[in-house]
Structures are given as C-alpha cells and as structure tokens.
C-alpha cells in the first residue's frame, strides 16, 4: 500500500460529501419530524436511520477507496451477472412500495438493488468502454455496450422504476461520450432515440405520461397531482434570501408539501434556508461533479478515468433531474437527491461510488500533476 499516493486523497470530495450528508440529515429531521410524529423505537426513527446508513456508507467508502479499483476490472463479468441475478430475484420476490416492486426485504430494513446496480453498471461499462484508441475505431465495443445495457435497464424499467432506468441510460450516454467513442458512432444515439422514444411514450404508465403532460401543458391535471408541484414552488419561492429558519418552514411544517424527506427535500431546504442555503447546496453539488471530473482527468488509466466519469455523470444527472423537478424545470420523476434525500440504498450506493472515485485518485501516476 505504500504505492498509494496519500497526498492525492481528495479531501474536498470527502468533505463536500459529508457536508451534503449532514445537511440532508438536518433537513430530514425538519421535514419528517412533523407536528404529528409520535415517538417510536429508535430504529424506526428516520433521522437515526439516515445517520446509521451514513456511518455504514462511510465505512464502505473507506474500504472501497483502499481497494485498488483495478481489482473490479477482472471481476466485471461476475459483477454483471450478479446484478442481473439480483434484479431478477427482485422481480420475482420483491416487495412492492409506492407501486413499484423494487425492494428486497432484509430484516430491519429493505434494500433497493437498483441503486447498487447503478454503481456496478458503471464498473461494467468502464471495463467495456475503457479500451485503447484503436479499438474504438470499430463500432463493435460501442454496440456491445448497448447489448450489455439492455437487460439491467429493462429489469429496472419493468419494476417499474422509470427514474433509475433513465439514470442508467444517461450514465451510459455520459460514459460513451467521455470514452472517446467516435463522433460518427455517436450519431447512432439520436437515431436510436427517435425510434425508441415513441415506443417508450406509449409504454409509459398513465401516471408517468400525466407527469410529462402536466409539465408541458399548463392546467393539465387529471389526477390533482400538480398540487405538490405547486406547493414545492411556493415552498422554494417563499424562502426568500435567508429562508424562514430551520424547522420554521410553513409549507413543510404544516405539511402542505408532501414527500418532504425524500424527493422534495430540496424544497424544504430552500424554504427554510433560503436562497443562500439553496445556492450553497447547488454549489456543493457543482464542486462534487467538478472534483469527480478532475479525478477522471488525472486517472492513471482509461478504466479509472471512465469510473470517475461515470460517477460524475450519475451524480450530475440525478442532481439535475431532482433539482429540476423541485424547481419545476423538469417533469416529476421519483428520484432522490443524492446524499441529501432519505434512503439507505441510495446513500450507501452513492458513498460506494464516491469511494471508487477516491480509489482512482489515490492510485494516480503523477501526484505532482494534482497541483497543477
């Protein structure tokens, strides 16, 4: 381990991650512990659970950072098969919550394997796309990556978890783009998109289509679902410069805003901490993504570079989709805000993903370049 470039350890990445996690726990406390919450066993306490998940995540983060990321390269095939098996098991035995069968029960807590699947797929795609320049001249690896992608995406989509499936596809697009696949090959993307989009549109569940139409057509609201979108805007907007104060948000505390501790936690934050808190949060995410891109730039090999690029894509797309939904810039998709929203699987998966990136930067070849 003496080859580890400890000087390269990305403290900014770690501290930003911890800061966002802490902010998340605070906002979960504010949003979830409402007027009507009754005291229960500690294990049922949402704030405690999130802190516990963060602790577990931090341990895994350090372990993953210490393990040489190149280990995963050789295990790629098994990781891929493992993901398919677990997603298949979910399909057969899974627990249904909020209309989607995406949970595996595991005693005190359930696991959402699709969250972990995102990380594994990042590794698999990094292996598939992280090739030499010459190999990329042929479209074969690129097309093979599509074939690799289809089974897990289909299984996730069928849960149905449209949001995560979308993230995996965006992850793939980001990694393909950054891997150096030829521009002419990339032209396939819009063509495939044009063919697949209508198919997806007509295969969408009614509520998903309503969400898109609701976003596109003002006043279209067959299910009354625009209520929460409107309440989210009111929450954010009424926050003003400095917000209404921690646990003082009228929209969140009086429960006008729903799903406060998960998908709409940013609205709670923006209401209670104001423009100042909200824009600092956005800045933290920007730092996170830019630090990840920096790691990609400094990685010693294409595999490492693509792992960091994949993690960056994953966090960027998930953050933008969630914030865009909160601010009504994008249609509603049930995606958590990474690190901030409540949810053990999401939090731990994100920690592992960031641990992988940390592992990459720890094994860079040229420590001096980091100073440049």
């Amino acid at each position: 381990m003496n080859r580890l470039a400890w000087r390269s350890f990305d403290w900014v990445l770690l501290l930003t991650m911890l800061a966002l996690t802490g902010l998340g726990i605070a906002m979960i406390y504010s949003g979830y512990e409402s007027l009507y919450t009754e005291p229960g066993p500690l294990w049922d306490n949402t704030v405690f659970r999130q802190a516990f998940f963060a602790a577990v995540g931090l341990v895994l983060y350090l372990i993953v950072a210490l393990i040489d990321y190149r280990v995963w390269r050789g295990l790629s095939r098994w990781l891929y098969l493992g993901v398919l098996v677990v997603l298949g098991v979910v399909r057969v035995l899974g627990r249904t919550e909020f209309g989607a069968t995406s949970w595996l029960s595991g005693g005190l807590f359930g696991v959402q394997p699709s969250e972990l699947a995102k990380v594994v797929i990042t590794l698999v795609l990094a292996r598939q796309l992280g090739l030499d320049r010459e190999d990329l001249e042929s479209p074969a690896p690129f097309l093979l990556s599509i074939l690799l992608l289809i089974p897990p995406v289909a299984l996730i989509y069928l849960q149905p978890d449209f949001g995560t499936a979308l993230i995996v596809v965006l992850l793939w697009i980001g990694m393909v783009f950054l891997s150096g696949v030829r521009w002419r090959h990339l032209l396939v993307l819009p063509i495939v998109g044009a063919i697949v989009a209508p198919l997806i549109w007509f295969r969408l569940e009614d509520y998903m289509r309503d969400r898109v139409l609701m976003f596109v057509l003002p006043g279209y609201d067959p299910s009354g679902a625009s209520f929460n979108i409107r309440q989210a805007l009111i929450s954010i907007g009424s926050g003003g410069w400095l917000g209404k104060g921690f646990r003082q948000g009228t929209q969140s505390q009086l429960e006008f805003l729903r799903v406060r501790h998960t998908d709409f936690i940013f609205s709670v934050l923006a209401e209670e901490l104001g423009f100042l808190g909200a824009s600092l949060t956005v800045l933290a995410f920007a730092i996170l993504v830019l630090r990840l891109l920096r790691i990609a730039r400094l990685a010693r090999d294409d595999y490492g570079r693509l792992i960091a690029a994949g993690v960056a894509t994953m966090i960027l797309s998930q953050t933008v989709i969630n914030l865009g939904m909160n601010a009504n810039l994008l249609p509603v998709t049930g995606l958590p805000l990474p690190l901030v929203s409540y949810g053990g699987s999401s939090l731990i998966s994100t920690y592992i993903a960031l641990g992988l990136a940390q592992s990459v930067i720890l094994r860079r070849t040229d420590p001096e370049a980091a100073l440049l």
Binding site: L254, F256, A312, A327, L329
Partner: protein, 657 residues
Amino acid sequence: MNDASTRLRFTLFRLLAIAAFVVIGARLWELQIVSSDQYLESADANRFRLLPTDAPRGIIYDRYGRMLVRNVASFTVSVVPGGLPQDAAERQRVLSRVGELLQMQVGSRPQIAEEATGSDPAAADTTSIEGILALRYNGPYNPVRIATDVDRQAALILEEEHPELPGVLVETEPIRHYLEGALTAHILGYVGQIPASELDSYLADAEQAYASDDMVGLSGVEYTQERVLRGVPGQKHIEVDVYQREVAVLASSEPEAGSNLILTLDVELQRYVEEALSKGMRAAGSEVGVAIAMDPRTGEVLSMVSLPSYDNNLFSGGISYSDFARLNTDPNHPLLNHAVGGQYPPGSTFKLVSATAVLEDQIVDRSTMLYCGGTLWLPNKYAPDDRSLDQPFYCWHRSGHGALNIVGALLQSCDIYFYQAVGGFEDLVGLTYTRLAEYAAEFGFGQRTGIELTGEATGLVPDDRWKRQNYGENWVTGDTYNAAIGQGYILATPLQVVSMCSTVANGGTVLRPQVVYQVTDSEGRVLQGYMPVVSRQLDTDPEDLALVRRGMREAVQYGTAWGAQIANLSVAGKTGSAEYAAWDEEGNLIVDEFGYMPTHAWFTCFAPYEDPEIALVIFLEGGGEGSQTAVPVAADILKHYFGLDGTSERPATVTAP
C-alpha cells in the same frame, strides 16, 4: 488525457455541468428573489384562514322565564381525501374505525375507470363513506362532510384518536334545540341554511355580515326576530395545516351574543291548550284545529296552538329529505300555522261584526224586534212581484226564532235577524254590504294583523268588483245575506277572529296580537319592554259594544254557548258553524242526509265578562256544530286558566255571576 478529442469532450461535459447548475441557480434566483413576495403570499394563503366565529344565537323563553330553545353543540365529521393514508390497507383501517364509530358502512372505493365510463348518478351510493367521498370529492384537500349531528361520545373518541386517524376532521357547530318541540314549533319556527333564492339579499346586508353557509331563522319568531337573535359574529384568524386542522390562533375578536327573547306565551298554558284542543278534535273527528288565547287588554298572545304540528328539532342540523317530504305532503299541512295562515269562513262568529255595524249605523237599536220564521223568502230582483221566483234563505233553526232584538239574535245566533238587518228586507233598509265590509276592515278582517310570525294570511272580505272578476256575476242581496252571517265569500284566519273578540271585549280597541314580550341581553337586562300596539280605535258608541257583549254573555247563559257556563266565572262568547264546500274523491259535493254541507266548528269568547282578561278562539276544521264541539274545548281551557279545575296553581279570579 493525451487525446485532444477526449480533452474536448471533457471540456464540453464540464461546461454542460456548469451550465446545468447555473440554470438551476438562476431559477432559484427567480423563485426566491424576484418572485419571492408572490410565493410568500401563496404560502400565507395556504396557512391563514379568517374564520367567522358564530355568535351564540339568542335564547327564547316563555313569559315566566321557562326556556324554550337553547344552543347545543353538534359534531360534524369530515374527511380530507388527500390526508388519508395512501396505502390501501391503512386507508381501509382508518375508514373502518370511522365507520364503526359513526355506524356507517365504509363501502367500496369506486374505480376511477368505472367512474369515468359507467357512472350512473341515480346509483350513486350516498350512505357509505367511500360513496360520499367519491360523490362530493372536490380536490384532495377540501374536506368532505360525511356525517352531521354526530353522537357526542363518538365525536369525542374520534377527536381523541386523531393521531391514528389522519385525514379525519371533527368540528363542532352549535345547533338549536327546541325543548318543547312540536308544542311551540309554529311560534318559534326553525333555522336553516340561507335558501339559495334569498342568498343575495342576505349577503347584501353589510351590517349583519352574513356568510353563505350561515344558519338563519327560516320561520316563526326565529325568522321575524332574526336581527335580534343573531348577534354579531366574531372573527378568528387561524393557522391551519394542509388538512385544514387548526394549528394556532393568531388573533380573534369575540362574537357578541344575540339578544334573548321573552315571549308572551305561557308554555304551561300552551301545553294545557294543546291537550284540550286535541281532545276536542278527537271528539269532533277533526284533523285540523286551532286554539288561541290572547289578552284583550294588551294584545299579548298567551297561547297559540295549531294542530297538527311538527317537531322543529328536525330542522336543526339539516332536515332529511324523507322527513321534509313527509311533512310537506301531509294533507293536513303540519308545517302551516293554521292559526295565522288558515283561511276559513268565520261563520256566525262574524255576527259580532254585523251586530256592531247595524247598531252603530242605527239600522236597529236595542229594542228593534225582527221576526224570524225559519225561512226568509227573498223576492227575485227582476220579478219582485212573482213570489214563486223567491229565493229561500234559512235560519239554522228551521222552525224559527220568532221576534228577536239584537241581544236575542246574538244569544240565539239567529241568521234571519242579520239577513234582514244587514241585507234589508221588505220595508227595512239594511246596512248594505259596502258598510259591512268597511266595518269588517275596521275590525281587521281582510288584512294581516302584523303578528311577529310567518305565514300570516290576509283572509278575504271581497267587494262587488271582486265577485265580478272571479265569478263574472254581480253582487246580489243573497251575497250580502251570506256575508252577514260570515258565510259566502268571506274568509278569516282564527287570529283575526280572536282579535275581533278582543276588540269587542276591550271596548273597541283593535290591538295588534304580539308574541314577543321582551328583548333582554345575556345578563337579563331588558332592552325592549312590551308595548301594546293599537292598530285602530273603533269609533263606536260604547253602549253598542256593551250590547254586543251582553249578547255574547247571554249566549253563554241561555243560548248557543251554554256549554261554556262555568261556576264562579262569567264567560261571554259566540259560536259558529261555518258551512264549507268539500268534495269527495269522485268530485261530488259532500252533503249529509238532509242536504247540509259540512261545517267548521268555531267558538270565540272572553272572560270575565265584566273585566275581560282573556279572549279565546277555538277552531275545529270540519268539526260540526261549534256549540257542541268547540265550546267544551274553550270551557276546559278557561277553567284551567282561572284555576277552577283544581289543577292550576294560578289563583282563581272570582267574579260575580
């Protein structure tokens, strides 16, 4: 990173990421800085509610301070659809618990698809909770009222369990509880929501600040004294959560309670009168009856009973459709106060007007004798000499009364005396109908008395033009004859008859009958005392009215009203048996074996004769002879009123016989 293309791609990606975050930042700027005020306003609109707080409506007492109506808390249970658990099993648990406590079926949740395609409003389920929720759904956060006037115990349990019952709201609202129900329903009336047709005029009344779901008096004293009883609503500025539950009170102004009313009514007398009247109605086979007792010196209505009545508590908290339909379609119209709204031929009671008129116009004097042979043959107007064309007018006493003076005519209730005196006969120039109608109007017939009750009718004192318009015929002497004895076209309400009796009793003052004795504030201070209202002072010779009273007194002593003779009490009265036209189911005029039409039984009287303190009217629809059916009811009431039946605690007023 040795590849220029890859370097470019990373740069592009970085720019894309930065651009995305900048867009989000800009959006935050727009929402939180530029439009912040507008959203803050929306957030406040979400949570602040300015609610009117109902002023306690005034309490109503009888003249001795016995409470007749009070306000009781009634519980309403509503469900906020969006507040119910989303999990189907949890939702079922919450609704089952509510259903269990309210004794309602939970029902099944209609499928959205079914609703859209096969919705049949007639098949709508309005009894189960899910049915009501589906039917009245108006957005996820608008509470749907599922039960009103909920049992107190159930409401308290629901309130206690509210942490386990998300989406369930329990609210209280005051409703009227009428302690005597049907006994005072026609006088007190009832309250209800403002009818849609009158909503605009109520809302236009800025001074009273009505809201569209306010309860207002709709009938009886509740309606006529609305302004007195209502009070001034207060305001409460509250903060609510999304389920519209009150979280905090920010500010409030106290409502000002409505003033209390003390009625002229004596509810114990009322109870006795009702019993006596219903006993008399059973004896007479009558389905509709009225009894009114009034103080002839002041116009205070001591008792007013109209049967059948209804329980006005049914209207508190909203009357059910079936109850209302039952009351509204009852052929005897229990919702109608027949005492003021029923219009009937007054029959011989009207002879008090005729007698006063003929004396006053000096058609007759105390000693003028007119002959009754049982039948009066009125010559044909166009062939006065052809006696074969004469039209017969009968006295009720077919064998005739012989020669009578005015007192005798009243005591015997002779019809032929009044035919002649009012309509004229042979050499006697009669009063004429025009003059009779003027006297009737003086006594208050053909117009409302102005009592503080709803549904008062005018009655009818027609003129010749009225007959031409309605019947296409001229007024003839026969019509005048009929009018002289309160038959024909003349119609009167029982209240007009007792008012007439009071006027005779008090020596010629037409007093407006009143039911409101005093208005007091919540501490019992009198805000408005009782003032008799003189509608008119008859310009009559006291001697003439004394003669009429004498006729009434003798009717009790020796004549038709002998049944009202009471030891130690001098009663004076006038009976009536008013013929009316009624038709059977096949449309044939109902007549008895002798060809007589059925009659309403009337009796109006006052006592004591020398110094009247009570005037009464008894009316029994289709009750036959007033002397046989109505008089005993009055006698019963008078005995009780003057404490002569040993049941009343009221000291007896002993008068000379």
